[in-house]
Subunit: 291 residues, 6 copies
């Protein structure tokens, strides 16, 4: 009866690392968060609560059990030393990219996107970035700090450059952030995510990174996040927007800023789990490979 026990992986992510096409990696870092921390608890909560999820998606008519996915567990990271934490993240993702794995990371705060993109950009120099988010995250610095969840997309822009970052659902930021974007540095759709299809057609088969800050969703859908921003998307609106990415070559993705303990009902975590299932299936059905 000994093989009757459940492995604490994300549901159906039981492939070996060697055989996997996609690797799920937890990055429990929230060291630069200025308001309410807690997203460090995200990866573990997502893994645990995935037990309540079906492996089959009636939206895509596809099943996680048909794919080879490996759950690598969570990175062990030092708090209080942001630079070192980012280096560990970058090195780990670089290893996975070197093995030609697609990578899906669970945060953790939004700053983790920076080292992931660094590792991916080294392989995919023309990388596009699609950002679903309530916040622009385009500050030049935050209280004098350059590496922060509030500056992360500005830092990403320093890597990928103009016309590569597509921002959807943005409804919060400083006047300066909106103005800087409007100067042509990023392509931003405020408040909603209705133009995803158009973005996808522009991107075509160029490699894409998807960063999903879960606070793009309305606070009613995801109260469990560090900086709740009312007025966001409903779940089905976001799901539909994500489905528009089905023809893209998504070489990496993340889902960040879930702070599960802020929503003790577990609903926020359930939202994250379902989005991850759909993103996994999307990444694995991409017509283009990661090589």
């Amino acid at each position: 009866m000994l093989n009757n026990t459940l492995k604490p992986n994300f549901i159906a992510c039981d492939s070996s690392l060697a055989a996997a096409d996609l690797v799920l990696l937890g990055i429990p870092f929230d060291g630069t968060v200025s308001f309410r921390a807690g997203s460090r608890m995200g990866p573990n909560a997502i893994r645990s609560e995935s037990a309540g999820l079906e492996t089959y998606s009636p939206y895509q008519n596809s099943d996680l059990t048909q794919h080879a996915i490996h759950d690598l567990g969570d990175l062990e990271l030092p708090y209080g030393n942001t630079g070192r934490a980012l280096s560990i993240i970058e090195a780990t993702v670089a290893d996975l990219v070197g093995m030609s794995k697609k990578v899906l990371c669970t945060g953790g705060e939004h700053l983790i996107t920076l080292p992931i993109i660094k590792a991916l950009h080294a392989k995919h120099p023309g990388l596009h970035v699609i950002q679903f988010d309530a916040h622009a995250d385009l500050r030049s610095d935050y209280l004098g700090v350059k590496l922060s969840h509030a500056t992360v997309i500005r830092r990403v822009w320093e890597i990928v450059g103009d016309n590569k970052i597509w921002q959807f659902g943005i409804r919060s930021g400083t006047r300066e952030e909106f103005a800087w974007s409007a100067e042509g540095h990023t392509i931003m759709e405020k408040f909603t995510a209705d133009s995803v299809k158009k973005a996808a057609s522009v991107i075509g088969d160029q490699p894409v990174y998807l960063t999903l800050d879960i606070d793009i969703l309305d606070t009613s859908v995801v109260p469990g996040t560090g900086t709740p921003e009312p007025g966001g998307l409903q779940f089905n609106q976001l799901l539909q927007a994500i489905m528009e990415l089905s023809q893209l070559n998504i070489v990496g993705a993340d889902l960040v800023e879930l702070a599960p303990q802020l929503d003790i009902s577990g609903a926020s975590t359930a939202v994250a789990c379902k989005l991850l299932r759909e993103i996994m299936l999307l990444m694995l059905s991409s017509k283009l490979t990661n090589q």
Copy 2:
């Protein structure tokens, strides 16, 4: 002053059993739930929190105080012996049916629907079943167990047969469940509940049982449920769908899977209370009697 005290019934359900047209029965059973239990607390929470509800519905321009409703309290059920619990439920409902009462049950988990329908089907052999739910509940078995909240509608189908079960809002299940339904065993509308009016016109004046799994609602509306499934209906969408049933002969109904302690704000319970008020008024305004 002694008659100044409040009886802890659901609000305005103060009729005697003998005089009542409708009986409210709490069934605090959640013994087969596989993920998060807690719906056993549903009936009691609903009764307590109904104190915050108005008796008057501006939607139907009708008032609970105009009707004779009896709150029978909660069944006392053994945990760990599913068969025996179901027998007690069935016998109790059969007694009420024998007294020509309409029956509205509060769960508890979805499996309680099976013995209720058994008791009602004995009197109404052509019974239709309208199911509002996120989950298909059509598994043949669940980990080898035939009687489970995940198999309950399959068991109901064994009683009522093909073309009698109308499923709305279904957005979760195995590939097999969706396929089995599509073979013609149930009439299923995936994701939404837009075709209720059409169903109602087909059913006409045949007797109907309404089973409402509260997780048909979005997790933002009802985080207090055992298996939260994002992407569901908004409250007003469900309310509108229920209003489409106003011409039907609803001989029994249930509201299941509220797990009140998972939503400590009380909002999920308030949703259940308001839905119950509307269903009560609907059942009591039905043009056809239960005889």
Copy 3:
């Protein structure tokens, strides 16, 4: 470094009282609430949680830091003596009105609206009242008590008279309340708030008081309120309705019935904070002055 510390004001409300155009006043009173108390905690929670809010509104392209707003703190009020508490509120608001300040109050329960309006009506005899609310609050009395959160708009009507009270989003009340309104005493839009623009055009440049009971929003958006009433507005629907007031002369306003501890996620409080920011900017951009 001593000036490096944060003052616990609502964000950016750091003007002196003398220089301020708008004064924010907390009124932590919930002494007549019949179901679940707790709105007394509202003002303090709003102030604390405003730290997570941007000062800039992308909706109005305006910034709190451009305006002179003073946070006066919270009134200290006796519980158990409603009349005395109301007198203190009225006297304080009268002082502010005497200084030609616009006043924005955070509750607390809805009854606080009565003394505020008394103070404002003394200066603005033709005052209109725009009410966003789930509940009509038009009872003549509640369990024999005249001064109650369930009777407050009826009391307000005794001051302002017929055709001055505009009610939006009402979805709960007794049969008598709806009937009394329909006799012509108030202008009520049930369930929704689609006719705000029309109301605004009728009101024109007459002075207006805005009372916003946060339970006009759906329970999914604001579970943190004393009497949760499902079926309300989404955040963006309310925001749009408020934007329709931009041409009005709003001389005073309140936001009431937030019970922050009922929503430990903080999402309900975040909703209140964002609404307050938008209302402040709206009041300060009004073309007409308060004089």
Copy 4:
């Protein structure tokens, strides 16, 4: 099967009113509470959660099922009108006293003790009062209000006079309260309750009222109370103190200030339930009758 349902009484309190020796009465009033309200939810929570309690006490080797106890339900009280609420309480208790019932009330806030004692004192002019409490409650007034949970024992003293009030466990108050007590008005044991036995021997067979403010217990034992005061008794210390009352003629009692929703674990409510069981058994085993 219809008699299989559970009545929502406090466990084993199923006697008729006529046959009962002891009556349990819920008084859900917290209208004068200055800090955190919520004790109005106490009576209902106690009743619900008593389902988890055994009827048998191994401490007293006695069983609730051996006694005739009636659960009268909860009083319906107006908030916002303290005087009227107190009148209803007093009249109800007076009726019960007139029927020669022993009375055990569940609060609600501590002010409810005042009208209960008024009703009892009319019959028992030499009534002693034993108070277990963290707070002295001896203020002359509170923010100018005479009737308050912070003044209640001062008001009781105005009825029963000097040398009748025995205070145990007091660890919070103003300097004035402690000084006033020390002038000889009440007999106070600060911090602990070690002298109960001695008090009991002084009181002998004179009639006694027991008022138990649950915050006498340490905040670790009862976090669910409105004004948590660290440094209190452990459960077993309080239980032992209560057992010292076994030879007294307790004609009435209350347990107040449980705010169940502040402790969502339910542990605070479980503490209240167990204390009530022990107090009931104690009152019913008293050698002297209530006549």
Copy 5:
């Protein structure tokens, strides 16, 4: 960097199964619980929260990292079919016993102790059972059901017989349970656990099973349990009692009835984690082997 990730085992339980002396097994079953379910969440919460625990015990001056312990994960069990769930548990433990492993199980409800003891008793016919618990669990049946968390020690007695079961801390039960124990069937210390040392000296080097129902602790220490029973032990009292077992030959043990979601602070789970560390170290330092 790929080996930098954390495996989600209980801290330091990273041995292979083959090499392990002790095996940790999660049994997430709570199917017979009559009041509040939720202990099924225990094993997973314990594993996650063990990250906050040091591996070193200053009490025993010993470290988990010095030992070979395997975390087998959680059993997958059907709900709604108690007999089948118990069979799976028994078979799994029997396999481990067959491999000469010491077994430490985390519940789950107390009924899981029955199949574990069945498997161990087959190898150790003279097995003693030491029970730390608030409840006697000696009912003959519970609402007619023989297999229940309220009857489990009675069922265990049917296996091990008189004079083998040592009960400590018992403070709740029916009159019949206490009487039946007093007939000589079990050795019971009511309320406290002061006689453990004496029991240990009687048992000597006979094989012992330790079953620890976490509700032996006071509700202030472990609010997170299904049937909270005030008046229990403090943590240090229990720890001291456990230390008295250091010379015994403990061949198996369990820790049951932690319901982690009932204590969202995580303190209850931290208590369980620390007790498990101490029990592991105790079992592994036993002078006698399991063979």
Copy 6:
């Protein structure tokens, strides 16, 4: 009436900075916490909840209103840059020390003690440190990071040297930490705090810094802390230990590691508030001045 409003200071800390003998400073930093963050919310919660505290201490027969205390508010600190945050803290405290103020800081995590002591040690070279804590905090580094809440007392030792640090209540750490202390670097009492009086007599009138990690208290008393460690002191045990310091010259103090949102009952915060009141009164009654 405008001066009727409450300033959101810690209760009775309304002196001007210039006139104050003692300054209360909030330091909401938790950037190096490895397990559960949240102590950044401590200072604000303490300030808010102090409204439920009496200003008078019956333990010391002294009243906060008799003293001049200034509440400076909270420092604004960058997250993600530990060095810079520590510099701001040190500079601020140095300014206060330069003004000859006694300083009492509320955390925040334990690392904040380091810059505070740096600033104080510059003025008081022979400074002793009394630490009440569950954790030794003596690691040389934590995951390679030198500045961490788990290494802070080791860093403090590098400033103050051997025989200056008195540790009480320590019950968690690595084997190495206990060994390093035993080499003579710190004076440690494991598990309890019974030797405080003796320490006080050794210290005499030398300047002392008091650092109080609230997790020295048992998890039942303070579940609201980041790394809950069962087996700690009861509140009254800690209070008694603190009272033993009454003759010392306490020139500065802190209370750290309260994570208020982890204990939504508010009891943990109430414990912190009461301890702060007693420490304030103790510091202000010290016979020796800070000059």
